[in-house]
């Protein structure tokens, strides 16, 4: 299952009057079916806001977002979302969390016994795929952060969503666990054929995972540059050392620095240092 996403002239303003924050200004982006797109950019550039708008969790101030040509109105089962944390249900076991959507009316149209059986099979398959078999009956509080995120991903995949939206899902994980998760999510992308939109502030993660990278810039939040990732569809960890990988990483990091206003910060710091130096020179005299 897969789907396209069309973002047309999307604006988002938070607040009113003098308090108004322009979180997103005129975003235009067409995401192809089964594409893996990653969003990067300085903090506060509107990555989460845009992702949440696609998910239907945030309304648009202007413009439109369409899935398979149909304008979206609120959240829907065609767009599953994985959050950074605190989204699992602590009172349910791992298996119950993954099967949560089966309790909802939105998923009861397929309640023939064959479908129920198939769903049970899918839950089992996801538990095995995510390496959760040994904790299937544990509660989320008994799991490590990495395992909890696997449960969250399995839960999102349970209903075979054509679109998977992920907001820094691995932000809280250590480097080793992240690498495992990266290969896992790429495997899911290939196997399920879903369209994946993935927000991160880790440029290496963005390049390794994405087929296309959307760089956003802050104040006002906007889409700045699109990059095609010059790597084959099949990825390996050692590609992170390939010259084209490193070149793209440098280019993106440079652009983020330019757009984030960090440069001026550095200049200010230099001025400050110079001033302190002059002061010190005065006192030693």
């Amino acid at each position: 299952m897969t789907a396209s996403i069309d973002i047309r002239d999307a604006f988002k303003t938070f607040g009113h009057g003098t308090q108004a924050i322009q979180a997103l200004e005129q975003a235009n982006l067409a995401i192809r079916p089964n594409e893996f797109v990653t969003f990067v950019g300085a903090s506060g550039c509107g990555k989460s806001t845009l992702l949440r708008m696609i998910g239907g969790l945030e309304s648009l101030s202007r413009g439109s977002i369409a899935v398979n040509g149909q304008p979206i109105a609120g959240p829907g089962v065609d767009r599953a979302m994985v959050f950074q944390h605190y989204s699992l249900y602590p009172w349910l076991t791992v298996t119950q969390n993954i099967k949560f959507c089966r309790q909802l009316k939105a998923h009861t149209h397929d309640r023939t016994s064959a479908d129920v059986e198939q769903a049970a099979g899918r839950a089992d398959a996801l538990i095995r795929l995510m390496g959760l078999s040994h904790v299937a009956d544990a509660y989320p509080s008994q799991l490590s952060g990495g395992m909890q995120q696997r449960v969250a991903i399995a839960r999102a995949l349970m209903s075979r969503p054509p679109i998977l939206l992920m907001d820094e899902p691995f932000g809280a994980l250590d480097a080793q666990t992240r690498e495992v998760m990266h290969d896992l999510i790429r495997h899911v992308h290939r196997m399920e054929g879903s369209t994946i939109v993935f927000v991160t502030h880790d440029v290496e993660e963005a390049i390794y995972l994405g087929q296309r990278i959307v760089l956003m810039a802050p104040r006002p939040g906007r889409i700045d540059t699109l990059y095609d990732v010059p790597l084959p569809a099949e990825r390996h960890q050692d590609m992170k050392l390939a010259p084209e990988f490193l070149a793209l990483k440098r280019e993106i990091l440079e652009r983020i620095r330019e757009t984030s206003g960090m440069k001026t910060d550095l200049e200010q710091l230099a001025r400050l240092n110079a001033a302190v130096g002059a002061d010190a020179a005065l006192t030693t005299d």
Partner: protein, 274 residues
Amino acid sequence: MSASKRAGGGGSSLWQIRSAIDPRQYWLLALFGLVAPLVAWLVASQLDGTDKVFLPGPADVLARIWSWATDDDLAADVAISTWRVVAGWALSAAIALPLGLFIGSYRAVQALLEPLTDFVRYMPAVAFIPLVMLWVGIEEGSKVAIIFIGTFFQMVLMVAEDVRRVPLAQIEAAQTMGATRSEILEKVIVPSAKPALLDTLRVTMGWAWTYLVVAELVASNSGLGYAVLKAQRFLQTDKIFAGILLIGLIGLLIDQGFRLVHRKAFPYLAGRHR
């Protein structure tokens, strides 16, 4: 050796912030915490020059409880008081739980009801006594009404707060799985808030007991609070002590009951239950 003891972490010191301690140690300390004041009381009452009317000893109070039980129908007083407290509290809960759920879930309901509730909760329950007598009469209903007034408004606000503490990500995850509004209330917000709600019920039950004496100011002729008030009139200090201790004891038992239910009902919170 002492160098290996770190200030904030590691080791198994009793003074480790929030760290678990041996259950035996826990119960020993709890017992000590309960017995020490008793001993202090005993000593103070035995001192020369301590007037029995001013401070009766534990033995006097025990004797009073005994005679109360045998001659004065203590069981009936306990039963009627417990009934009043539980009825007032249960009535509060029956209305506060659904109302708090809506205040905590919908901003519009919050705007409509929360400022009003916040305002009313600062009004002293005692001051309502004349009004309650006027509106409800002086039957059982009036005692229940006072306890209701004393607990309800606080309870609504606490329930609303418990509901608002449900992580937004839990709700949004359900939304992206296609949950309807009623499904989110029933399958996410309520189960997620349940442990906090049970805590709120436990705490407000304690408050309900503190309103018992006030409630039994209203034309009573039975109950623990009434007994304390009557004893005050005749300067029976030992009976005042007996009444206060019994109220405390019943409260403690009910509180422990709630904690037990909490442990049994929410096994997934194993880390929190010591």
